[in-house]
């Protein structure tokens, strides 16, 4: 097996055994990135910083003082601040921004010994489902280069699928980890809201944003979560519950777990390939002894409408900080302050970001607030209530991740049709629950299809346990695109 093909668990074992150094592993992934450059997953690479971190990791490994991710090459979505390493958010407005501090989760990965190799591409400020809303780099799906990776964490999913890193960080506000993970045939986890600190993550919609891992298999996702989770006094929404060892329950199998199949998820105009592939996976689990029961999440179809008021409303407020004063792009021709704000923002933001700022401003504006933002927040309460009832009848909810597999690049130009692709992932964010995507098969055209798993608040243990069992049954881990 080539070095770049290894999982975190395999590499950590090989590094500990001493036959392989972190420097060799890091050089191997940089060679792989170069050899598979057509995937275009990165905005910024940090070879020099990565090799220095690798050498430090090798010293710790030699001294027998190795933390769990010691020496493992990992990529970070360009929405997370990395001290001294350019962080763009995929936007022209931050094209030259070099953060003076790192996100807490990046710091935690470094403390766990990870080698940060670079920053992956994404839709501008995480707004998009195809990673095409980024003028810095549009990634290509490693399974078929003419197709989208999905988004917004498209670069992270593509980099992991192409073995350009052992794992990557993504963020998920309405499906931005799970949908690209599904499209690229890798594992992507959105933890419970508050599990991972948002400090140092460029804010999109603060009540929905959550950082999570993209990995090659379920065990690696658990290993990443172990390093990432925990209370952070610098994030007031950070959970105080201690995070468990997420690997502890992985081997316990499906026995005693109730898996719920939400009937409404199959009534949203699913692509035949997705339906067939997901149902085949579910049948397989049933044959393996899974207790599968039908459940109902009746307000599922209203999630997108609620989300496309709530998320833009929060974004319109969060993005007001980009004003050309303290950091970021400034129009140099403006002679007055107001003119400078307007021109800097108008030139710095892309089309989709402007669209969402304007929707959000409208949803919050006097006279429309009750009809839009307040109504959406009430529907959010109803969706949370749906989950509460459903999760009394099952432990883990299983479903498709997206209504269709990846689509060809450049073919979805209408914003609303793009928004609707998130219909099965958005409700998880509105409810703050954990959710993930696990590869479960391929469409007739050879594109990956994911199985979504969701669980109750802070029950990642049950979700990961079911995912690990399903992964074993489906035997797809290690299946990689030909590049």
């Amino acid at each position: 097996m080539d070095i770049h093909n290894q999982t975190i668990a395999q590499l950590a074992e090989n590094l500990a055994a001493g036959g392989l150094s972190s420097r060799q592993a890091t050089e191997a992934v940089f060679a792989r990135i170069e050899a598979t450059g057509q995937v275009n997953a990165f905005i910024t690479l940090d070879r020099e910083g990565a090799l220095a971190a690798a050498d430090e990791a090798d010293r710790r490994l030699a001294a027998g003082d190795a933390p769990p991710l010691c020496g493992v090459p990992i990529a970070v979505k360009d929405l997370l601040c990395t001290r001294g390493l350019r962080t763009t958010g995929g936007s022209r407005i931050l094209e030259n921004f070099v953060p003076p501090y790192s996100a807490t989760v990046v710091e935690k990965l470094r403390q766990a010994g990870a080698v940060i190799i670079g920053k992956t591409t994404m839709d501008e400020f995480a707004m998009g489902s195809s990673n095409e809303h980024c003028h810095l780099a549009v990634p290509r799906n490693p399974w078929n280069l003419d197709y989208t990776c999905g988004g917004s964490s498209g670069g992270s999913a593509a980099a992991v699928a192409a073995d350009q890193c052992m794992a990557a960080l993504g963020t998920d506000t309405g499906g931005s980890i799970r949908q690209p993970a599904s499209n690229c045939g890798v594992v992507g986890v959105k933890p419970t809201y508050g599990r991972v600190s948002r400090y140092g993550v460029l804010a999109f919609a603060s009540s929905l944003d959550q950082v999570g891992p993209v990995t090659k298999d379920v065990r690696d996702a658990a290993l990443m979560l172990n390093a990432m989770c925990g209370h952070d006094p610098r994030d007031s929404t950070s959970l105080r519950e201690p995070a468990p060892d997420f690997t502890a329950e992985l081997g316990r199998g499906l026995s005693g777990l109730r898996l719920g199949l939400p009937r409404e998820y199959f009534e949203v105009g699913l692509d035949e390939d997705v339906k067939t592939t997901v149902m085949a996976a579910i049948t397989r689990l049933e044959k393996a002894g899974a207790d599968i029961r039908e459940i109902s999440l009746p307000r599922t179809e209203y999630g997108v409408a609620a989300y496309y008021l709530i998320a833009p409303a929060e974004a319109s407020s969060n993005l007001s900080r980009y004003d050309g004063v303290r950091f970021g792009y400034r129009d140099r021709q403006a002679r007055e302050l107001l003119e400078m704000y307007q021109r800097s923002r108008s030139q710095g933001f892309g089309r989709e970001v402007k669209r969402r700022i304007i929707i959000g401003t409208y949803a919050l504006s006097s006279g429309y607030y009750d009809a839009y933002y307040r109504k959406a927040s009430q529907v959010r309460a109803l969706i949370i209530d749906d989950y509460r009832r459903a999760l009394e009848q099952c432990d883990v909810i299983i479903s498709p991740v997206t209504p269709t597999p990846a689509w060809p690049l450049g073919t979805k130009s209408d914003p609303l049709s793009m928004y609707l692709t998130d219909i099965l992932t958005i409700p998880t964010n509105l409810s703050g629950l954990p959710g993930m995507s696990l590869p479960c098969g391929f469409s007739a055209a050879g594109l990956p299809v994911g199985l979504q798993l969701q669980a109750a608040h802070c029950r990642e243990d049950l979700m990961l346990r079911a995912a690990a069992a399903a992964e074993e049954q489906l035997a797809l881990a290690g299946k990689r695109p030909q590049l």
Partner: protein, 94 residues
Amino acid sequence: MQIGPEKVVEMARLARLELEPEEVEALTGELNSILEYVDKLQQLDTTGVEPVSHALSVVNAFREDEVAPSLSREEALANAPEANDEAFVVPKVF
């Protein structure tokens, strides 16, 4: 609820954005199709439903008010489009 181009311009102004005429035209159409879609929320009866702005139960996350290290002035100014030795510099207000 349909909105006209003047509403789009007004919202853009509130958000400190300046739009080209062709952007206003395109956005008016796109926003109307989005607003038409979100109107489906009106199908749900939400009488008496308490709105939720956050899925989390955490309230009032207090901490001790302690002095801790923060960025130096130099670091804080390092990304400024324009700065002098001690402050951000902006164009005149009027």
